[in-house]
């Protein structure tokens, strides 16, 4: 009854939701960042289960290897020892909890009616060659636009993060 992919799916789901809860509830932002690293790695596992091998590798390289390193750097740069003693939620946490629960309930309800029975059995095939053809074919214009966005982000990050006193 339980195949290996579905066991893997349930284990990954529990880890993903548990570490996501740590991300939003932990008092220590450093622990939040570590839990977020775990969530992002588990999402790469979901991509593997869905047959998206190239995307899983990209998720690990870009998110776990790139974004999280920068985020941990900023967390360590801006933490003071007093932060561990402060409340990390604002006074509206109850309303936020209710709103989040309402969104979750609405999404789950609407999906259950539409997609409960959809299931497919397909073998794993490497997708990198086909994705390369897609990116340089039908998706060429957004691909080039994204390179411009990345250049703008690079310049913007340097401009925002430079120290004014040094440049004078």
């Amino acid at each position: 009854m339980f195949s290996i992919p579905s066991i893997a799916f349930y284990v990954l789901s529990v880890v993903a939701i548990g570490s996501a809860l740590v991300v939003v509830t932990s008092r220590n932002v450093f622990h939040s960042a570590l839990a977020l690293t775990g969530t992002l790695a588990v999402v790469a596992g979901f991509f593997v289960l869905l047959g998206a091998d190239f995307l899983a590798a990209g998720q690990v390289l870009i998110y776990v290897g790139g974004v999280m390193i920068i985020m941990l750097f900023v967390v360590m740069f801006s933490q003071t020892p007093l932060d561990a003693l402060q409340r990390q939620t604002n006074s509206q946490w109850l309303w936020g909890l209710l709103f989040g629960a309402a969104v979750a309930a609405a999404l789950v309800r609407s999906f259950r009616g539409a997609y409960r029975a959809v299931t497919v059995v397909s073998e794993m095939r490497p997708t990198s060659a086909a994705i390369g053809r897609l990116l340089l074919g039908d998706m060429l214009v957004p691909f080039e636009a994204v390179s411009l966005v990345l250049l703008a982000a690079l310049v913007g990050a340097v401009v925002f993060a430079q120290d004014r006193k040094v440049s004078k």
């Binding site: 991300v23 998206a52 990390q88 946490w93 909890l97 997609y115 340097v158």
Partner: protein
């Protein structure tokens, strides 16, 4: 393991992200919650691609763009956080009120 299972997990991740965005005081926590919401959307894109269009790759391609843009957003956002921290020595959102009327 049907499409509905993946959609339910991603709905849970998305609403946890919404809760974090609405309630964290620390701006770094808000950025992390936004990353959670991006990832929930990515799971949805790839799951719809896998179950409803097994031969196609557009969902994965768009998810790749989402990852790229999320990385760009994180870099710019974190450099803004660094700049704000250098100016007001705080990462809590209620202290960032220099522009208030």
């Amino acid at each position: 393991m049907t499409l509905y299972h993946f959609l339910a997990v991603s709905a849970a991740l998305f609403s946890i992200g919404i809760y974090g965005v609405l309630t964290r005081r620390n701006i770094l926590g808000i950025l992390m919650s936004i990353e959670l919401m991006f990832n929930a959307a990515n799971i949805n894109l790839v799951a719809f691609n896998h179950y409803l269009h097994p031969g196609g790759l557009w969902g994965q391609g768009i998810a790749l763009f989402v990852i790229t843009l999320a990385a760009a957003e994180a870099v710019v956002g974190l450099s803004l956080v660094l700049s704000i921290y250098r100016t007001i020595k705080s990462v809590y959102t209620e202290d960032m009120n220099i522009l208030h009327g």
